[in-house]
Assembly symmetry: D2
Homo-oligomer: 346 residues x 4
C-alpha cells in the first residue's frame, strides 16, 4: 500500500464537517489537521474525531511539510487568499464552490497552480452525482444526437443567503452540470430577477445562456417557491431526457422522441414527422457524490491527472456568475463572458 | 325573450368549427352566415349545419344589414383587413388571437372600434377557463398578498407552425393570462431562443418580462419537449400557488407558505422566518372556456359592456409578441414595449 | 371487395350509441337496423344516422334474412332471451358484458352457438385496449417469467348502479383482463364488501382470487373513493410491471426488478439477492378499443375464427361474478367456481 | 426537576440502537443498562455510549433495584419470557411489536401487568407518527362522518424475513394504525396470500377485515412489488382522505367528496347526488415518531396514565395476526378473532 495522502481541512463550519467525514473515511488518506479561526468550530471536530489535531493557526498548517493537500471550505471571500498561500506553500488545493469571488482571483489561482505543477480542484459536487454522471454518459454515447437546448429549475422555499444573490448560491450547481455535460462554457448570459424579500439580494433569477455551439439554456433559481423543483430537461436531435433530482427512483428518463425534418421536393413545402417511442429510466447507482469527489481529488493528487472539476472549470463558473450578476444588476442586459472563460483547456 | 344577436362566422378552417358550434348552441344567437374563401370548407359547415347559409363572398356578409356581429377565425395576416371592413360596415367584431400581425394594425382597429362605438373582442380563450378565473379570483381577494413573480411553462412535442415562431404560436396564451391576472402589461421583454428544426422558425423560447409594478415573469414556450408541461407558479408575499393545466383534478393549489422579514434591532442583522402551512386545492367548475367566451361576446354586444379581452388587451398581447420576437431576432436584447401597450384603458 | 356484413344493433341506451358509431364507421359493415323498445331512443339514432332504419319490433329484425349478426346492448336481464332468439334465428351474436345474469344462462348460449356453428362474442372491451394488449404480449414473451400475483384497483366516486352490486358493474373489466393475461380462470373467490350508501347494493368490494396455476389476485372495486385509481401490478419471477390506466403517457412500466433465491449449502441458511434494474415504458398505440373490438367481431363472423372474448370467456366472467357475489352475500366465505368455468376451450 | 426514570434496554440488534438513542436523548431519563446476549452487540453500544453500562446478564438487570423500566427489543420468540420476568421483578415494560408470538402469551402479560399495577406498552410506532395522529384528529373531529371503509397498501421490494410471514412483519403497522383510528378491533379476518420466493413463508397477503361497527378494511402487504406503496384511503360518509407516507409534503389529503342519498318520494326511485369539493392537505409537523413514543412511555410510567398502545392494544394486534395467519394457512377461510381481542378496555 502507498503512503497515505496527508490532507488538511481548512474551515469547519456548515460544509466542512461533510468534507472531513469523507476524507477521514478514505482508506488511503490521513487527515493531518482541521483548521478554523473559531475555537468552537474546532471543538466540534475534536468531539467527533478525537485523533485529528486541530488549530486556529493557518500558517502552522501551511508550514507543515507533512501536509500534501489543503481542502478549503471557508466563506467565499477568503477562498482566494487561503488558496494562494496554500499553493505558494506547495500544497495541492481543493476549494469549495464557487471557487472565488471574481474571475480575476480565479485566474490567479489557475495560473499559480499551473506554474507550480500543483493540482487545483473545485467542489462542484453535482458533477460527481450518479444521475449527472449517467446523463453525461448518455450524451457522450451520442444517444441524444446534437443537443438543442437545456432547461433547468432549482427552486424551493429558503434559505436566503445574507451576502450573496440566489445566482451565486444556487446557480453554480446548474452551471457546473451544464458545462460538464456540454463540454463548453456559455459565451453570453442574460439574467432577469428580483429582490423580493431582502433589499439588494435577488432571490429569484431567470438566467438565459448562449453557447458557442449554438445550444441555448435556461436556469431558473429561486429561494421562493411553493414546491421544490430540481428538474432538468435536455432536448437533443435524436432523443430527449428529463433528470429530476426530487424523484426517489426514476431520476433520469430517456424519451425516444423527436422530430424529423423532410426536405421539400420540387419547391414544395417541407414536412415534419413526429416520433414518440419508448421511455427508459436507467438504473442509477446509489453512491454519495461527496465520497466520489474526495476520492477523485486524492487520485489526481497521486497520479498527476487533471481533475474533472479543475481550476479552469471553477473559473468558468465564477466568470458565468459574475456575468449573470452583472446582467441582473443592469436590468437584464446581455453580458458576454470574458475570454478566459472560453479558452480551451490544454 | 330578446331578439337574437345575428352573428356571421368568417373562416371555417382549424378553429372556426369550434366557434361555429358554440355560437350555434347559444340560445339567444342566430348564426346568419358562415363565410370562407374555400368552397370545400363551406361544404363541411353545411354538412354539419344544413340550416346555416354559407358564402365565399365576404362583401355579401358585411353588406347584410341583418348581421350584428362578425366572428373572425381566418389566418392572422387577414385579421386586420377583414376586421377593418367589418367595423366600417358597422358590425361588432370578435377576432381570434393573436389579434393582428403587428401593433400598428391593432391600434387602428382599437381606434376605429372606439370611434364607431362598436365592440371589439379578442379570443384569448384561456382568460375564460375556470382555473384561470379561479386564480384571478384568488389574486383579487388579496389572499396571495403582493405578487412577486410568475413562471410558466408551455412545452410539448409539436406542432411546429410553418410561418410563425413558437412565440407567436404559444406565448399569446400565457401573456394574456398574465396580463389578466396582474391587471397590467409588461414594460420590457428579453427573449432567448433557437431554431432547432426549421431554419428561421424559432421553436424554443425563454421570455423574461418586467412589469411596471416590479413583478417579473418567465415564459418558457417550446414545440420540442419530452414531456407536456403546462405549469404556472405564482409567488406572492402572503401565499403562493401552482396552476397545472395537465392535472385532471387538482389544477390549482394554494400553498400557505411564505417568508417573513423581521427588521433588525439596534444595528443587528435582519432575520427571516419561513412559514409552511396548509395546501388547498379549490374545486374548479368544469365549463367549456369557449362557451363562456362566446357568451361574454354576445353579452357585451347586447349590453354595451367592455369585453374582458377587448381590443386593448389584444393590442397589449400583440405588442408583447412583437417585442419578444424583436429580442429573439437580436440575440436576446432587452426590448421596451411601445407606449400604446402601457396606456391605461379608459 | 366482399359483401358487407349486415349488422343489427339491439339496444340504443347508454352504451348502444358507441357500438352503433363504431359499426357504422367500419368500411365492410352495413348497419341494417337499430332496434329498441323505446321510441325516444330510436329518435336519437335517427337524428344522428337518418339512413339507418329503426324499429321497436325485435321479431322484425330477427326475421330479416338480410341480417347476418346481432349486436346486443340492452339491460343484462334481457341478454339471455334476446341472444337465444337471435341464435335460433341463425344470427351471429355480440353481447355487451356481463354476458348474462347467471352461469346457467351463459352455458345455454354457449352451447346453442356451438350447435348452430354461429359466433358468440362478449364485449370485454378492455381486452382490446392497447395497454392491455401490450401487457399480454410482454407476458407471452416470457419477459416477466412465471406470474406470482396480480393486484388491481378500479375505484372512483360514482356512478352507483341501481340494480347490481359494484362487483357486477366494475369487476367484469378486471376479471376479463386477468383471464386474458393469465390464460386461465380463477378456481375460488373470496369477497368482502359493504353496502355503504344504498341498502342491499354493495358499493365497495375486495375480491381475492386463486388460480389453478397458483397465481393469486386481488381486485378492489368501489364507487366510493376520493381519487380515481385504475392501477394494476403484475409481479413475475423475472420482472414486474405496473399498468396505470389513469396515466396519459406511461400507461405500462416494466421494472427489471426481482429476487433471486440461492439454495443453502451444507445445511446453511438460504440467501436472497434483490435486483433493481432499468425501468422501461414501452410506446403504446393510441387506438380506440371499441373499434378494434367491433373489427374483431366482424372478422370472426367472416372468417369463422373464434373470438378472443368468445362465449366461454363470457361464461367464465359471469361464473366468477356469481361466485364473488355469493361470497359477498355470505360474509366473505370462500366460493369455488363451477366446473364449466374451468373447462378448457376446445 | 424530577428524579430521572431509570431504563434498561434489552436487545441491541437491528432496532435496539434506535430505542437506545431516543431514550438516551430524553432529558428526564437515565439509561441504566444495555443488555444483550451477544457481546459483539454490546461492543457497538459501548463505542457509541461509553458511559452506559452493558451486560449479557439479564438477571443482573432485572435484579437491579434502581431500574424502573425495561425496554425490550429482542427477537419475538423471547418477548414473552423476558417481559414476564421483568414484570415479576416489578419493572414497567415496553415491548417492540408484535408484542408476543401468540394471543395466549399476550393475555398473560396484560393480566400480570394489571395485577402488579405496572405499565405495559407496545412499540406500535406508527401510532406516534404525525400524519397518523393528524388523521386520528380528523376522524375524531367528525369531519369524515361515519367511516365506511379503509384500504391500505404496504408493499415494496424486500426484505424477506426468514422466520415469519409478511403478515407478521408488515401488517402490525397497519393493524395498529387502523385500531387506533377506529377505536375498535376487527372481529373477523380473511386472508389470501402466496409463498412466492421461499417455501412456507408467505410474501404477499391480502387481508380483509370486518369490524363490529360495520367498517370493512383491506390490507395489502408484500415484500414483492415493483414500486413502494404506503397508501391508505379512508372513506367516510361526509369526507374522504388519502394518507400517503411516500409523499414528502402532502402526506394527508382531505377530500370534501361524498354521495348523498335522497329518500324516494311516493314509491319513486331513490336519488343519489355526488359532491366533489375542495381538497386540503393540512400542515404536518416533522417530529420523529420514535421520540414521541419514548416520551409517552416515560410519561405513563411517571404519571400512571394508560399508554395509548398499551398491552390490550398489543394483544389485539397479536390476535389479529394470529387469525390472519390461520386464514392464510387454511386457504383463505374466514377466522373470527378470540373474545379477548374484542373485550373493551377497562
Amino acid at each position: 500500500m502507498e503512503t497515505p495522502l496527508r490532507v488538511a481541512i481548512v474551515g469547519h463550519g456548515y460544509w466542512g464537517p461533510n468534507l472531513l467525514r469523507n476524507y477521514f473515511d478514505l482508506s488511503d488518506v490521513w487527515v493531518s489537521w482541521v483548521c478554523d479561526s473559531r475555537p468552537e468550530a474546532l471543538e466540534k471536530a475534536q468531539r467527533r474525531y478525537p485523533a485529528v489535531p486541530v488549530t486556529t493557526d493557518l500558517d502552522r498548517v501551511l508550514g507543515d511539510p507533512d501536509v500534501d493537500a489543503v481542502v478549503i471550505a471557508t466563506p467565499i471571500s477568503t477562498h482566494h487568499p487561503i488558496a494562494l498561500a496554500a499553493l505558494e506553500a506547495g500544497k495541492h488545493v481543493f476549494i469549495e464552490k464557487p471557487m472565488t469571488a471574481d474571475t480575476q482571483q480565479a485566474c490567479e489561482l489557475v495560473e499559480l497552480a499551473e506554474d507550480r505543477g500543483l493540482k487545483l480542484m473545485v467542489g462542484h459536487t453535482f458533477v460527481f452525482s450518479p444521475p449527472v454522471r449517467k446523463v453525461k454518459e448518455i450524451i457522450e454515447s451520442g444517444a441524444l444526437g446534437d443537443i438543442y437546448f437545456v432547461t433547468t429549475q432549482r427552486v424551493n422555499l429558503g434559505l436566503h443567503q445574507k451576502d450573496v444573490s440566489v445566482v451565486w448560491d444556487l446557480a453554480p450547481h446548474d452551471i457546473s452540470i451544464l458545462y460538464y455535460w456540454l463540454g463548453e462554457a456559455a459565451q453570453a448570459v442574460t439574467t432577469t430577477g428580483r429582490c423580493c424579500i431582502v433589499k439588494d439580494i435577488p432571490d429569484v433569477a431567470f438566467m438565459n445562456l448562449r453557447f458557442p455551439s449554438g445550444v441555448v439554456a435556461e436556469i431558473q433559481a429561486s429561494w421562493l417557491s411553493p414546491v421544490k423543483l430540481r428538474r432538468t430537461i435536455v432536448v437533443g436531435s435524436r432523443k430527449m431526457l428529463v433528470y429530476d433530482d426530487t424523484e426517489n427512483v426514476e431520476k433520469v428518463k430517456i424519451f425516444d422522441h423527436g422530430v424529423d425534418f423532410e426536405e421539400p421536393e420540387d419547391f414544395g413545402e417541407f414536412q415534419l414527422s413526429y416520433r414518440t417511442g419508448d421511455i427508459v429510466s436507467p438504473k442509477i447507482q446509489g453512491v454519495e457524490p461527496l465520497f466520489l469527489e474526495a476520492s477523485h481529488f486524492v487520485e489526481c493528487c497521486r497520479s498527476g491527472a487533471t481533475p474533472i472539476t479543475d481550476g479552469w472549470a471553477g473559473l468558468q463558473v465564477v466568470a458565468s456568475l459574475e456575468a449573470a450578476q452583472a446582467s441582473l444588476d443592469n436590468g437584464g442586459a446581455g453580458i458576454d463572458l470574458p475570454e478566459q472563460a472560453l479558452r480551451a483547456r490544454a
